[in-house]
Symmetry: C2
Subunit: 403 residues, 2 copies
């Protein structure tokens, strides 16, 4: 499952004591080849964590052989010492696996502005190397046979998926097989899920054989309509990173369109799981905007609703308050007439051409899933945005998270 479903990958997840709860907090995923293509999408936030600054350099040549991830500390705004901790983490992985430091990606998640305990992270790397799937009993990183892919790798993938969680309540996993090759992935993220990514760490692997430029094109197209349209609380993290590693171990070179389509499925599946586990959410809200003049307009309109605290608090109270939908979309620059808009909730059209239609008390919001549909009557483009409601649990979790 997860990142070890595709041939050519090993993984591990261990506890290094970075999370005060003692839960697993260091994950390692290794590409055993024969190819080592990589593609990434990084946070759009200009305030970038040290692992982002490092990983941007690693992927510059389109090659990466391993990725190490830690929970329990974002290593962001921690200065030169913090950057050095990231570099040493990559170096420890590289030394254990016999590869160049510059081929090891690093991801971190947790509190910003706190020093990440270097000793604990490096100890965690040692433990993860020893626990790499297929070598769980060896206890000796140097004994790893680079070509041995063991059935135990299934456990490695699960352990890695668990070790990247923070306030998440469940692992997020997805696997698709197609024409002899496989894409598998894991994700974490439960808040700060917003534009152009989130406190979202995603690692996907494939045994399809692709050039890094092809992998990059496929990933950006897939992320654009999945992860980038998940907007939980409008906050963009400093540490977001979506990575895909391609081993080529299947020996199959898929058509790029086929590969992109399957990758999009995996990304959409993971995005849906991220929404389902968003901090404190009691409703999962799918906002579908039709009839826009352009896809960008549809996205802007959908996102304005996903960012309306007033609308999202109303949904928490099971109140189909379509007036707050119209108030939200009126703040956008999209090309439409607010007085020609239709709004439906769970299939009930509560607003027609900017006037009340079916009485809103006929909408039942007691279910966890809400679909809000808008027809802007301005064109034929559409977009879907995923979000959740604003709840007491969200406020609680984010006022108590760091303490």
């Amino acid at each position: 499952m997860s990142v070890t479903a595709a041939a050519g990958f090993q993984a591990a997840g261990v506890s290094a004591g970075l999370r005060s709860s003692g839960e697993p907090d260091v994950a390692l995923v290794v590409n055993r080849g024969p190819h080592f293509a990589v593609a990434t999408v990084f946070t759009s936030n200009r305030s970038k964590a040290n692992p982002i600054l490092w990983s941007e350099q690693v992927v510059a040549d389109g090659v990466a052989k391993a990725i190490v991830l830690n929970a329990g500390g974002a290593n962001c705004f921690t200065g030169a010492e913090g950057f050095e901790t990231t570099r040493l983490t990559a170096g420890a992985v590289a030394a254990g696996l016999g590869m160049a430091t510059e081929d090891v990606l690093v991801c971190s998640t947790g509190l910003i502005g706190e020093v990440l305990d270097r000793h604990k992270v490096l100890s965690g790397v040692d433990a993860a190397l020893a626990a790499l799937s297929g070598n769980a009993l060896s206890g000796n990183a140097s004994s790893i046979n680079p070509l041995s892919i063991n059935p135990l790798s299934i456990n490695g993938g699960m352990q890695a998926a668990r070790a990247i969680l923070t306030t998440d309540t469940v692992e997020k996993l997805s696997v698709r097989e197609h024409g002899g090759w496989t894409i598998g992935g894991m994700a974490k993220g439960a808040g700060m899920l917003a534009p152009a990514l989130a406190t979202m760490l995603v690692v996907m692997t494939t045994d399809a054989e692709l050039k890094s430029a092809e992998l990059d094109a496929a990933l950006h197209e897939a992320a654009r309509v999945t992860f980038n349209r998940l907007d939980s609380d409008g906050c963009t993290s400093t540490n977001d990173q979506v990575t895909i590693l391609a081993s080529g171990a299947s020996g199959i070179q898929p058509a790029l369109d086929d590969f992109t389509a399957v990758l999009k499925e995996v990304c959409a599946d993971l995005a849906q799981q991220l929404m389902a586990d968003a901090e404190g959410a009691s409703h999962e809200i799918t906002i579908v905007v039709h009839g826009a003049k352009s896809e960008a307009d549809a996205e802007e309109v959908g996102r304005s609703i996903a960012r309306s605290n007033l609308f999202k608090a109303a949904v928490f109270g099971n109140d189909p308050n379509w007036g707050r939908v119209l108030a939200a979309i009126g703040t956008t620059n999209a090309d439409f007439d607010p007085y020609k808009v239709d709004v439906s909730m769970n299939g009930i059209r509560v607003c027609h051409h900017g006037e009340p239609d079916v009485p809103r008390d006929q909408v039942d919001l007691s279910d966890r899933f809400l679909v809000v549909e808008l027809d802007l009557a301005a064109g034929i483009a559409s977009a879907t945005i995923l979000t959740n409601d604003l709840t007491h649990a969200y406020v609680h979790e984010n006022s108590a998270y760091s303490s």
Copy 2:
């Protein structure tokens, strides 16, 4: 006090049964001249309520003689019938006072997308006409002497200020005197306080003598740095309207700079009161951004913090989480280097050049007032944004408000 502090104005506030609580819900302010200059700032929301659509027409000639306001219904997205209710409301005021319908402004606040009860509003207008300060005992609108300004007008101003409240807990009033003339005002607004206004209704009056173009210039300059920098929850209302009426009854023509400065004081005072009464807030947060390359940059940076649910939930939890400040400002396009930024909270510099400085546990957030100061180290411009924290009470109020 309030709108009747300046010479030449009468006011009233009555209960018309629009609010289910039975509290006052129709307010009327009348300019008795000799001049009738008006200036307004309307919501920037493209989804505009019927009273906004009406009032935009009224002020086109720079003249208005009265303003009638109702709580208990926004009259927004209620179609042609809703617009006709607004027009009839203005007409009833005009008939009672012997003026043209096109000289009567209308404001509404309440739930969007619900029909406003026309009968109740018009009954409220009759009652308000009868109760106009100086005529409280007459019970007969036609008996009003257009030139009689009675000491009882003090009560009329207070009653009007009370009749525009919705979820507000207290009346907002401000008065300044300067060189023989006076500016007084009242405001309501407790949520949806965001960019370019809020569910904010403000009526100010002055007995200074100004041309409507001067009044307009003064109001826009004053609102730009006061009401427009109050950002409670990032949501912009469909019904915002800030109005100033000038009677010229003092006979004094102030220098425009003097008038603008005093008007700015009144607006700042009312804005501060709006922040203090924001829905469910437990902290009043003043964000001061220094060292920006431009004032627009400073404003954008300050607003990004005011809109970070994560930061605002942290403040609710008395957590001086400066990492969330840096994460927020990293999403802006302002011209600065995140790794050169200083952040202070209540005078304690917790971040210096993008690294931890004084340990954040030395910041005490137990007080209601929090000042967040940023130095962007990019220039000499600055701006101040007012906001509040994100609390359980906010979620409760906005999930239960409409039911």
